[in-house]
Structure formats: C-alpha cells, structure tokens
C-alpha cells in the first residue's frame, strides 16, 4: 500500500565548531538551497517542510520551526517538527518520507540542524529534574559503562576502539565538509589522547559541531525529472524501547536489531554483510562501530570487533562504515542522523566524491538516540524496486 519515494536532492553545510558567519536561519537556508539546487528545483516546487533537531535547549530557541519558517520558504505550507533525541536526524528523514509514501504530498523538503555554538549542550544535558534519573557528565559518561560491558563480553582487544577513531578521521580527510580534519591522525595519537570516560579517550569521541543537512524527497512520478540520479528508498523503520527494565540489554538493544530486521525485510536483504555495499551508522564513540556491527546483523554476536580489526569497515572492505568520517568527525547533533541518511543516499547516487565506494548500489543509514533506546534506519538503492 505504501508508495515509492526517492531522494532527489541533498544539501549539506560546511561543518565547523562555530559557524559564526551565519544565523540559525542562515545555516538551515544554506543546506536547503543546496538540496534544491541538487534537485534542480525552486522553493515553489516544495509541498511541505519537515524539520528536526535535538533539544531546543541546545540553542535556546523554543519550537524553532516557528522562527525558521521564513528561512525555509515554508510560509503558506504545512510544517512539522520532529524530536526523538539523538536519532532525530534519521527519524526526521523517515517522517518526511512518510509525507510522500502516504500519498499525501508529491515532493517535500526536510532539514535538520544543530548550532551547538549558540549554547552549551553539555550544560543542557545535565539539568537535574526532581524524581528523575540524572544524566551525569553528558553522553560519554552515560555510554562508557555500556562499552566496558561490551569489551568484557567479547574480550575485544583494547586497540579496536582507537582503530575506528583513526579510520573515521582518515575518511574525513576525503570529505571537505567534515568538521575534524586531522592529517597526521594515527593509532599512537589516539591512544595517547586523554582518557575522558574510561575506556573512551578524547580522540575516540565526537566533536561539537554546527551544521545542517537537507533532503528533497519526491514521489515515483517526479523522481526522474531532476538533473541527478534518484536514490530509491527501499525500506525505512523506527523503533523505541524503555530506558531501563529487567531484561533490557543496553549493549545490544532489541529496538536496534528489530529496526534493522524491518528494513532488511522491506528491501529484500537476507544477508546484510553481502548485500549491503556500505553503511553510514551513528558512531559517536569509537566502540559503537563493533557494537552496531553486531546489533545491525553485519556480524555474529561477539564478533563485530573482528570485522573492524580486519579492516573490513574501511573503504574497500566488505562493509565500509562511515566513509564520510561519520559522527566521530562531525556531530551537529540534530543533523547527525540525517547526515548518515544523506551520505548513504549519496553513495548509491554515486556522488560521494573522494569517499565514494565503487559501484555502491545498496546502502544503509542509521541513527540512535537517548540511552541507546530510539532507532531510525533506512535502506536506499540506485535500483528502483
């Protein structure tokens, strides 16, 4: 019953620690204009605008879709603002695509952003509430115990996390938009960087970035009218689970594996390692690469780190992860999920430039949020189903 939809335009800003040259409106407008240009369209061709970002407190603007309506040419159009914690960039792409797959709209614009330099995310994440679990020391402090448990379960050697940090930063050198550009990155440099939340070192953590990412998604009839190839959405899904309860596995959350199985089934994928050509996966701390390799079905339980250790997640490996440099190189939080979705679409359109995987036909985009409890994924392909 669901109709086909395709990504026909992609726009990203340069990602930096502080984009002082633009306002928040200027930032989202930059990404949106680039997406429209890529799609060969103007503002009038857009039927609805869907925006997403992480908590309003990250910039201090309440319900920013109201202020951003002008910058996104939304006046007189439908608008929706999604917020599902760190997975929001991915969820926003899914909800935006649903505007089309439901048959309600022909062509929509979706934009996600974060301008972390306007405020202090660490502060915004650390406000205690009465009778509520307090998230101390930001996301790294929350996830470090999950990572230690992963290492204990699998016996993964200590150098695997740092390997991911090096690989993603080397990939970032091939992506001119990526925030972190560290030409002399090496295993020694990562291992010698300060320990922040044991076992997460400084260089195994994502940066704080400003930036925005935009997509134009169209229905089947309009998908081939643009100047560039469409990326067909072959499967998309969202899953949420509780933060804490008996039986929940924070290291290998069921919501994540359910979400992956759902999109593989929609896309007709039975062996993800073989049939998926590359994946852009939300890895804000290095060790989440081997953890998600297992959670998303690319490796058996306990063996994700072996793929990383063998170099299989590098460009040219059997399952390249985060060819763009990933969240470890750019983390404009609200946009981070959509950047994964956009980069996966770029790969199957063949427009990823220096970080292109040769002949990529099927790619996966992934995002997760809160206490590894919210997930959004899609599978995109150069081939129409």
């Amino acid at each position: 019953m669901s109709r086909l939809a395709a990504v026909v335009g992609i726009g990203q800003t340069e990602y930096r620690s502080a984009r002082k040259d633009v306002s928040m409106g200027g930032l989202v407008n930059e990404a949106a204009r680039r997406a429209l240009e890529d799609a060969g369209l103007g503002w009038d061709d857009i039927d609805a605008v869907i925006i997403g970002k992480a908590p309003d407190m990250f910039e201090g603007v309440l319900m920013p879709e109201l202020y951003l309506a002008d910058a996104l040419g939304a006046s007189g159009k439908p608008m929706l603002r999604v917020h599902t914690a760190g997975s929001v960039g991915g969820s926003t792409a899914v909800v935006a695509a649903t505007h089309v797959t439901s048959g309600t709209f022909d062509r929509i614009l979706t934009v996600t952003f974060e301008k972390q330099s306007e405020s202090n995310a660490m502060w915004a994440l650390s406000i205690p509430r009465p009778f509520s679990m307090h998230l101390n020391a930001g996301a790294g402090g929350h996830f470090a115990p999950h990572i230690r448990e992963y290492m204990r379960r699998t016996g993964a050697p200590a150098h695997v996390g740092p390997m991911v940090a090096v690989k993603d930063r080397k990939n970032a050198l091939k992506n001119p938009l990526a925030h972190l550009q560290i030409p002399d990155i090496s295993l020694d440099m990562v291992m010698e960087s300060p320990m922040l939340w044991d076992p997460i070192r400084f260089l195994e953590s994502c940066p704080s970035s400003d930036g925005a990412c935009a997509l134009v998604i169209s229905n089947e009839e309009l998908a081939n009218k643009g100047p560039n190839k469409p990326a067909w959405i072959r499967g998309m899904a969202m899953r949420s689970e509780t933060m804490t309860c008996k039986g929940r596995d924070e290291v290998n959350p069921q919501a994540g594996s359910d979400c992956a199985k759902d999109i593989y089934s929609q896309a007709g994928i039975s062996n993800p390692l073989k049939e998926v050509d590359m994946a852009e996966v939300y890895v804000p701390f290095s060790w989440y690469e081997p953890m998600w390799l297992e959670n998303l079905g690319f490796a058996n339980k306990g063996e994700g780190w072996k793929l990383t250790d063998a170099g299989e997640t590098e460009i040219g490996g059997s399952i390249p992860f985060n060819c763009s440099g990933g969240v470890l190189s750019t983390n404009a939080i609200g946009a981070s999920g959509m950047i994964r979705f956009a980069e996966s679409a770029m790969q199957v359109r063949g427009t990823a430039g220096e970080h292109q995987v040769d002949g990529a036909k099927m790619a996966v985009g992934h995002a997760y949020g809160a206490s590894a409890q919210f997930f959004a994924m899609w599978a995109v392909s150069s081939e129409k189903p």
Binding site: M1, S2, R3, P55, D56, M57, F58, E59, G60, V61, L62, M63, E65, L66, Y67, A69, D70, S75, G76, K77, P78, M79, L80, R81, V82, H83, T84, A85, S91, V95, T98, H99, T101, S102, G103, T104, E118, A124, L125, I127, P128, R129, F131, S132, A237, M238, R239, S240, E241, T242, M243, C245, R248, A255, D258, C259, A370, S371, Q373, F374
Partner: protein
C-alpha cells in the same frame, strides 16, 4: 489514501497546578483509562506518537521519560513531535495512510505550573530580533487585539461575548478549569490586564495530559460503536515576523480550512483552539463559519489550556460531541506559535 477514524479520547481533569503529580503520572492515568474503556491493550497499537515541549519541564530530553507511560518493551514503533499533540495526530494519520499501521495511540502533555509560561514562550520568537526584547505571549496577543480593535475588525463587546459563551458552554464539561455564567457587562467591568486584554480574555494556565486512539475505519468499528471519521486534515504555517503578517486575519488557517474541505458540506459546530478571545473571532472568519455554527461547545482553550495538548483536545472534544449524537459534522482546529502563526484544521464526521 486510506481513511482514518477516531476511536476514543480522554484528558485529565484540567487544573492550574498539579503539585507533585508529574507528567508521567498524569499520562499513565489517562492512557490506562482510555485503553480500559476501549477494551483494547497497548500491544494493539501499531504506532505511538506524542507531542510535548522540553522547556515546560525545564530539561532537555524531558519527553524521553514520558514513553515509559506506554511501557515500551518489547520495542514499539514510536515517534515524537516538539509541537502540540494535534501534529502528533497528523504524523500518525500519515502513518496509517501508508498502510504500515492500522492503529495509533497519540498523547500530549504539559505541566506549565513550575515555570513562568508567558516568559518561557517568548523563546519561540526570532532569537536575534524579538526574544531579546522578551516580548511575552500575552503582550504579543494584546498587540494583535489592539490592532483588531483599532481597525474596527472586532469590538470589546465581541471579545466579552466569546468569553461569556465559553464559560457557559464549559459548564457541560466535567473537570474543566473555568466555567460559569457571566454577562458581557460584568466582564467588561473587569480591569484590563495587558491592555486591551482582560484576564478573562486569556486562556488559563493548565497542567494536564490527553490521549487519543485512532484506527482504520474497519478496525475502529471493532473497537467502538461510533467511530468518527477524519475526512479532512491540513496544517499551514506563516511568517514568524509579526510585522510581515496581517495580524487581523489568519491566512494560514484560511488555507488549511480550504485544503481540509471545511465548507464542502454543512458545518454544524467548531472546536477552535483560540488561547485569546479575539483570536476565536479571527479563526471563525478564516474558516468561513457563519453565525449558525456552534463555536466551542466544550468551552475551548479559554476554559482549559494544557500546553502541547490543547489542540489535540479540540479534536478530541469534537469527536466526543459527534459520538454523543449531538452533531454529525464539525471542524476542529489547533494552533501553535505567537498570534496564530501555525494552524491545523481537521474535519470530523460521524461514520455512516
């Protein structure tokens, strides 16, 4: 596209300050209530979508805790908008139209009492030009009302008549916040609060939570005797700059009303989300509703105004009024932002 019907709706009693009862507790009471009343279970819900605002709770990710109210384990298909839950309904309707879900549970909640709401809401304006002036919601609405009065678009008598009707209608709604019999002359004798608005021209501050179940018409018929069809649904936004808008009309409501097909057939009643009395008149005109249309039989937002749920409440009350047999077709409306910047219109009809 597949049709969607409302099965059931429920809200907490509307109170000014819920004290130590938190958002999660309010939600649990209404969600368990609506589930039990409908004779379904949470696992029957194919999709869950909610609306809330972190700033009301004063903490980033405050909404994350709220999903515990639906016991999400094993994992569920779920989403959240940082908007009034009327837009969560909008997202859920799209989801059902795709065929990926046959049913959905929608909830919205807001506990405004711990903060200074009118100041908090000034953060939703342009952060560079307007927020630094701390133009609060009531002052912005007062400027809008003043412009309407100056241009002769409406009168203070008209505004007082809206309030008198709202309070009188609200007497029929158990657990609402403000109700009673007032004359226009009594109301006009009250002092102004933020001129030209009097206190009663402004919606009250309310703590509460609301929940709705929707489904395909086929499924809805299994779950209730009187499903209410959503035959039209649209939302439109307009510029954020008050100086770029004509504040004496609601152009986005007008577009949304036309797209939703409000006047394709006779409208018997309308539930309009007008947090200020003069806005109800602007909305009525934007939707082309004549004097024969009953406006806000529930009392509307002037009787109870739970932030992030009051829009969904309009749709919920409208559905309940149709289910009661009092009406067969009506319009429900939700608003967001300063001076009616963003508006959603739903057309509801009794399923034949």
């Amino acid at each position: 596209m597949r049709d969607v019907a409302i099965v059931n709706y429920r809200q907490t009693p509307a109170i000014r300050n819920s004290g130590s009862t938190n958002e999660l507790q309010m939600l649990e009471s209404v969600i368990q209530g609506v589930i039990a009343e409908s004779g379904v279970s949470l696992s029957d819900m194919d999709f869950v979508c909610s609306g809330s605002c972190d700033y009301l709770a004063g903490a980033a990710f405050a909404f994350v805790e709220a999903i515990e109210s639906v016991g999400p384990f094993p994992p569920i298909k779920e989403s959240h908008v940082e908007m009034d839950a009327a837009w969560a309904l909008y997202e859920a309707v799209l989801k059902i139209r795709t065929g990926e879900a046959d049913s959905a549970l929608i909830y919205g909640f807001g506990k405004s009492s711990p903060g200074d709401l009118r100041s908090v809401l000034s953060l939703q304006l342009d952060p560079y030009y307007l927020t630094p002036l701390w133009l609060d919601t009531i002052s912005a609405a007062a400027l809008q009302a003043a412009q309407c009065l100056d241009r002769g678009v409406l009168s203070e008598d008209d505004m007082a008549a809206v309030v008198a009707r709202s309070r009188a209608n609200a007497k029929s709604v158990p657990g609402t916040q403000l109700s009673g019999d007032y004359s226009v002359a009594d109301l006009l004798a009250e002092p102004t609060y933020v001129s030209p608005l009097r206190m009663h021209d402004c919606a009250p501050i309310t703590d509460g939570a609301s929940v709705m179940i929707i489904a395909t018409p086929e499924k809805a018929k299994q779950w209730c005797d009187t499903p209410v069809l959503i035959t039209g649904l649209d939302n439109r936004i307009e510029s954020s700059m008050p100086t770029l808008r004509d504040l004496t009309v609601s152009s986005s409501t007008e577009i949304a009303g036309q797209k939703a097909g409000v006047n394709d057939k006779t409208v018997e009643f309308a539930e309009l989300h007008a947090p200020f009395s003069h806005q109800e008149i602007l909305l009525q005109r934007a939707l082309g509703l004549d004097d024969g249309v009953d406006i806000n039989p529930s009392g509307g937002a002037l009787a109870a105004n739970t932030m992030m749920a009051a829009g969904l409440d309009r749709i919920g009350h409208a559905a309940k009024l149709i289910q009661s047999g009092k009406y067969a077709r009506g319009v429900a409306h939700a608003t967001s932002g300063s001076c009616l910047q963003h508006n959603l219109v739903a057309v509801l009809e009794a399923a034949s």
